[in-house]
Amino acid sequence: MKYVDEFRDPVLAQKLIAEIEQLTAQILKENKRFADRPIQLMEFCGGHTHTIFRYGIEQLLPKSIELIHGPGCPVCVLPMGRVDDCVSLAERPEVIFATFGDAMRVPGSKKSLLQAKADGADVRMVYSPLDALTLARKHPDREVIFFALGFETTMPSTALTVLEAEREGLDNFSLFCNHITTVPIIKAILDSPNMQLDGLLAPGHVSMVVGEAPFHFVADTYKKPIVITGFEPLDIVQSIWLLLRQLAQGQCLMENQYARIVTRDGNQPGLAAIARVYQLRDFFEWRGLGSIEDSGVRITDAYARFDAERKFPVPNVKIADPSSCQCGEVLKGEIKPWQCKVFGSQCTPETPMGALMVSSEGACAAYYNFGNLPELMALKEKAVVAK
């Protein structure tokens, strides 16, 4: 397939891997801090995690490079209380609750949206917020609520959907807004006391919207190399190579590997739509990470009539994660998914306890479904025997 296979070329990959091996050897030799620990690189974005597992990139890398799978999967970091709010909205008899498929299986404290649908709620899976708008046009006697979630990547599309609803004068459409922002969470991770990150792969799709500028602080303030990265396997391998080259040369820069998509200033019309429809919340709750300042957005007062949280009562109850779940430690890279107490036993993709097991972009689900590491193989074999 043209313009796809070029970015998955195994021959080019082998060349880059050979150079990565050389750079790694050089870094290990020249830096005492890696005497007793691996070089830790975090891919922030769930899309990157998915690519890494889908193409088996982790085992191609030298053993002394450890990839830490960050919190950039919006489904995974959604707190249980917000899922309960979704269920409560969806169970209102007048409501058609429209959502992306990934969010259907996220467990709430009592049920998921999938279970709510089975119990009679009108939950519809859509592929775009505009599909939800079509539902609103088709069902003027019902209230259509779209479950808006995602980082800056998906904000322009939901913002434009609100603007379109306004233009058409649709008063039976609203958003349940759970959009979150990238920079505050990266800051929270870098400020975390147990964090030893040596470099970051920055999210390519978020950067497509926000541009390069918001990521300079990682290099400037935190003195960590950061590379804006695309989503094909060669993008990721090349970005790892770029990070290692910086480490080998003792640099910390913000580099843009995904320059074919990401510009310095981002997508201006998209940013304008975001600024018109959304404003920062003081705090937003993240599953496993707690409440983080300025890390979520809500709908501005000017568009309050499209805000499901203001149009309908929502319980808005904070629910603590199950105590046995160690999602937070996994998200921050403090433990590996399979080191979690419930990984693969009580928490599997079939019956996820923690959100990281729900979406295919969640680190735990990725390990469980795709992982090929010896630890994981042993675990899976045990599960097969138990069956």
Binding site: M1, P10, V75, R105, P349, N372
Partner: protein, 357 residues
């Protein structure tokens, strides 16, 4: 009441009206008209002409063909009922024929249970029944008994079909998901994912246009050619819901072996691959309705491959060896990716859902 004589019974019932309504399931004259005019006329065989409540099969006909009876049933609820490359009628015959054939059985007879939502157009029903007949003829099977029910609007979606089938397994065949052994090779009879991609496209809610046709086809002819050339097939399954990933996992699990497949060896159409790329789907999990996974001893793989590729059914032209059975890592399926890495291919959980960003 006298028993009608086969072939001579006068068909008087004519279905009136353009749509099916509740009276067509009421047990009275309208129902009899529906059954006679639509089903019996189309399926056209002596068993049905008797108008008995059960088909009666001569055991001698069965025992002459083998030593075991294969019996299977499947219900069809596909949405939409018409899709590129087929419809629910064709599917309901091919699916059951294939479920029989992968055991090595020669499929002989099918039943047909139909649940119709009131309001279905008679023209659509006739088209579906005609497809069933065409598929049955192509597979060389007869539909010899059936049942029709009509339910209120909303109680089912347009039409649901159940077919059961019987076939006979020849003495020398022992095909079993538990028989895969290290050293065996794994074959498939062509492009994966066509059915799933065609259905997704036909649903229309993705606004993606494609020209992908469902691969829905009866595979008993192909399988018979394969077994003539290579009777020692160890395992064979049709890769329907859950795609080839699910079937490979079932075999790895039942046989307690590791299965290793090569991404570059798996036949897939560029259109299907493109659709999967756009939607974030994994083609290994896409449904097929005309694809079988075959496990044969390594030494016989060439012979099996040739038989598939040269089958007069034309349903194995793009057959390929896609992997092998290995020692160790029992119950696990590993994919060697085109990129050069490896990953586990697990059973699918829930539906295959597109990623959100």
């Amino acid at each position: 009441m006298t028993t009608p004589t086969p072939g001579l019974r006068k068909r008087s019932g004519k279905l009136k009206g353009d749509t099916i309504n509740m009276s067509h399931g009421g047990g009275g004259k309208a129902m009899r008209d529906l059954i006679e005019d639509v089903f019996i006329t189309a399926f056209d065989n002596a068993h049905l002409d008797l108008m008995e409540d059960q088909a009666r099969i001569d055991l001698a006909v069965l025992t002459a063909r083998g030593d075991r009876l294969a019996l299977t049933t499947d219900s069809y609820v596909v949405d939409p009922i018409f899709f590129p490359g087929g419809d629910i009628g064709k599917l309901s015959v091919c699916g059951t024929v294939n479920d029989l054939a992968v055991s090595g059985a020669v499929p002989l007879y099918l039943t047909c249970g139909v649940i119709i939502e009131e309001g279905l157009s008679v023209a659509d029903l006739r088209t579906i029944v005609k497809s069933m007949k065409e598929a049955a003829d192509r597979a060389g099977v007869k539909i010899i008994t059936g049942d029709t029910k009509v339910v209120d609007r909303g109680a089912c979606d347009k039409i649901f079909i159940n077919t059961a089938g019987v076939g006979v397994i020849q003495k020398n065949l022992h095909i079993d998901a538990g028989r895969a052994r290290p050293g065996d090779l794994i074959l498939i009879n062509g492009y994966i994912g066509d059915h799933g991609a065609a259905i997704l496209g036909a649903r229309g809610d993705l606004s993606i246009e494609n020209n992908i046709l469902s691969d829905c086809a009866p595979l008993n002819g192909l399988i018979s050619d394969l077994l003539a050339a290579c009777p020692d097939v160890h395992c064979m399954r049709d890769a329907t819901r859950g795609g080839i990933a699910s079937v490979l996992n079932e075999i790895a699990d039942s046989s307690n072996v590791c299965i290793k497949i090569k991404e570059t060896a798996i036949p897939i159409r560029p259109d299907v691959r493109g659709m999967c790329e756009i939607l974030g789907l994994d083609p290994l999990y896409l449904a097929n309705e005309g694809k079988i996974i075959i496990v044969v001893p390594g030494a016989q793989a060439d012979k099996a491959l040739q038989a598939l590729q040269k089958s007069s059914s034309q349903l194995g032209r793009e057959s390929a060896v896609i992997g092998e059975v290995k020692d160790g890592h029992e119950g696990i399926v590993i994919l060697q990716t085109a990129f050069g890495g490896e990953r586990i291919v697990d059973m699918l959980v829930g539906d295959q859902l597109p990623r959100i960003c």
